[in-house]
């Protein structure tokens, strides 16, 4: 038996990658540049695909491989390219201007992580031994934290495009929770979610473009003004 067939090793790798996903999420809160933000999101999604692959390998659940491949295709390649094109097309200022300044945002993100851990703790009931079924149970805490920080980023940002990005990272949290708790939803659900995401990104992209055309800005706080 090779060392990588040991479920303990798999558990360790999943935990490690989940921690990195969390670090990238916090990096996204702290990041000022729009393009870098998109790339951090791509890296985060890549790690997510790796986690999905690892879970698929240790649980012998081949349909998760498809979910992982879709993640790779959609979130690592397609959506980032789409968004970078959009950024280039509408020529906005590269800097993200959050409502709350960066150090405080990062501290809030840290606090939300703690909330995530506390919430996840109540879901966790240690069972007998370390059977492969307990694989990656502690990623739930990370998933909930991703979710909360994603919400916070959506509130904290002015520009429509960065809010879309926050929504996508929030969805990453959902995906992580789904694969770590249930070892993958039925494939048809996953497929639905992915197409949903793809369509949402495209529609939001067009919407962002229109907002920019009409208001000369992507600042959503200007949407209060009515125009005939």
């Amino acid at each position: 038996m090779y060392f990588y067939q040991d479920p303990q090793f798999g558990e360790r790798m999943i935990t490690l990658m989940a921690a990195l996903v969390l670090v990238l999420q916090i990096a996204m809160v702290g990041q000022r540049w729009l393009v870098t933000n998109i790339r951090v999101f791509a890296a985060q999604s890549f790690l997510l695909a790796c986690i999905a692959n690892t879970i698929a390998y240790y649980n012998h659940a081949p349909h998760i491989y498809i979910a992982a491949a879709l993640t790779l295709l959609v979130k690592v390649v397609f959506v980032p390219i789409l968004m970078e094109r959009l950024v280039a097309k509408i020529e906005i200022r590269q800097e993200i201007e959050p409502l709350i300044n960066v150090p405080v945002s990062i501290l809030i993100a840290g606090g939300l992580t703690m909330v995530g851990y506390v919430v996840a703790e109540s879901f966790y009931h240690p069972k007998e031994g370390t059977s492969p079924a307990t694989l990656g149970h502690n990623t739930l805490a990370v998933a909930i934290s991703l979710f909360l920080i994603g919400f916070f980023m959506m509130i904290n940002r002015r520009k429509a495009l960065t809010q879309v990005l926050a929504l996508l990272s929030l969805e990453n949290g959902l995906f992580l929770a789904a694969i770590s708790l249930t070892y993958g939803m039925p494939l048809i659900v996953e497929l639905g979610v992915f197409f949903d995401l793809l369509v949402a990104t495209m529609v939001l992209g067009i919407l962002v473009y229109r907002i920019r055309e009409t208001f000369d800005s992507m600042d959503v706080s200007q949407l209060r003004r009515l125009r005939g």
Binding site: L16, A19, V23, I26, A27, G30, I106, L107, G110
Partner: protein, 313 residues
């Protein structure tokens, strides 16, 4: 007793000899990455040698603090060096203090350096001191959290105990808490040694300098003491980073073979960390001073997450 004395002398010699070399290696590697030839790796020794033989210029307004500061900086650095395990798991003076002693002795040295800079009476000194104190006040909690993460799993703040605990668990460095703590401590290392995203060690531009602004009025042997002290401090922080998180090859006994292995692996790890620092320094631009708190708040949050995740993972 004599063993402790021998170990102390051995580590002292090692500390004083290696520290300029590491600075030299970092400088040379950096120059090479920027396609310059750069000075040789032994340049810091020549600099120190030259400075020690030069005459001193002391400002008229300076009091005894100006003279005490370099000695305090040097003495605290060397003392801290004896508290940290370098090539053996037992630090020579580990009975006298642990992590807290390390952090606050370094703090004492920094305090005297800032006082000395103020005492010289030039406006740059005051500017440098205030910046240094701001940064260190932000770096300190991050450093505490990161080190406590490791101390927690060894349930001791004594560094020798911490390192011994770390040797026992082979896969421990892959645990998320360790990685997060390592990242936090690495950012602190960059900030404390005045490396590029935070401070530029090679500049004398008044808008950006921090460490250089404080030592602007020093010359001759005093400058040599400060530079040497700073090099020792850098070596200590690097040693902390590599020995706490990656204690491979540390010798547990006092015999020639294990000491040789300890020495070899220690130097190898130091060089790897130096390369990492050089890469960070060359690929980043210096931050504006007002952006530095953002970087350090990242370090703080990483440290806090590390501490939480030791309880939960």
């Amino acid at each position: 007793m004599s063993k402790m004395l021998g170990a102390s002398v051995f580590q002292l010699v090692l500390l004083l000899c290696i520290s300029p070399l590491i600075s030299g290696i970092i400088k040379t590697l950096k120059a090479r990455l920027q396609t310059r030839r750069g000075p040789g790796i032994f340049q810091p020794y020549r600099d120190l040698n030259k400075l020690l033989r030069k005459q001193m210029v002391i400002p008229e307004t300076a009091s005894w603090i100006f003279a005490a500061a370099p000695i305090m900086v040097f003495a605290t650095s060397v003392l801290v060096g004896l508290l940290v395990p370098m090539i053996t798991a037992d630090a020579p003076l580990s009975l006298f203090g642990g992590v807290l002693a390390v952090i606050y002795l370094l703090g004492l040295g920094r305090f005297f350096l800032a006082l000395g800079a103020l005492d010289a009476g030039s406006s740059f000194g005051g500017l440098g001191s205030s910046r240094e104190m701001t940064i260190s006040a932000l770096a300190e909690p991050a450093m505490m959290l990161a080190i406590f993460t490791v101390a927690l799993s060894a349930s001791s703040t004594n560094l020798s105990e911490v390192v011994r605990g770390a040797i026992g668990q082979s896969w421990r460095f892959l645990a998320p808490s360790q990685m997060l703590a390592f990242a936090a401590l690495f950012i602190v290392l960059i900030a404390e040694t005045g490396r590029i995203p935070v401070d530029n060690p090679a500049t004398h531009l008044e808008l950006t300098m921090i460490h250089e602004a404080m030592i602007l009025e020093y010359s001759g042997p005093y400058l040599a003491l400060i530079e040497w002290g700073a090099a020792v401090k850098q070596l200590i922080l690097m040693t902390l980073l590599i020995n706490i998180f990656y204690p491979f090859g540390l010798s547990l006994q006092w015999n020639a073979a294990s000491l040789a292995i300890g020495c070899g692996s220690y130097l190898l790890k130091l060089v790897i960390l130096a390369v990492l620092i050089v890469l960070v320094e060359t690929t980043n631009a210096k931050m504006r001073l007002f952006r530095v708190p953002e970087l350090l708040s990242v370090a703080f949050v990483l440290g806090a997450l590390a501490l939480i995740s030791t309880f939960l993972f």
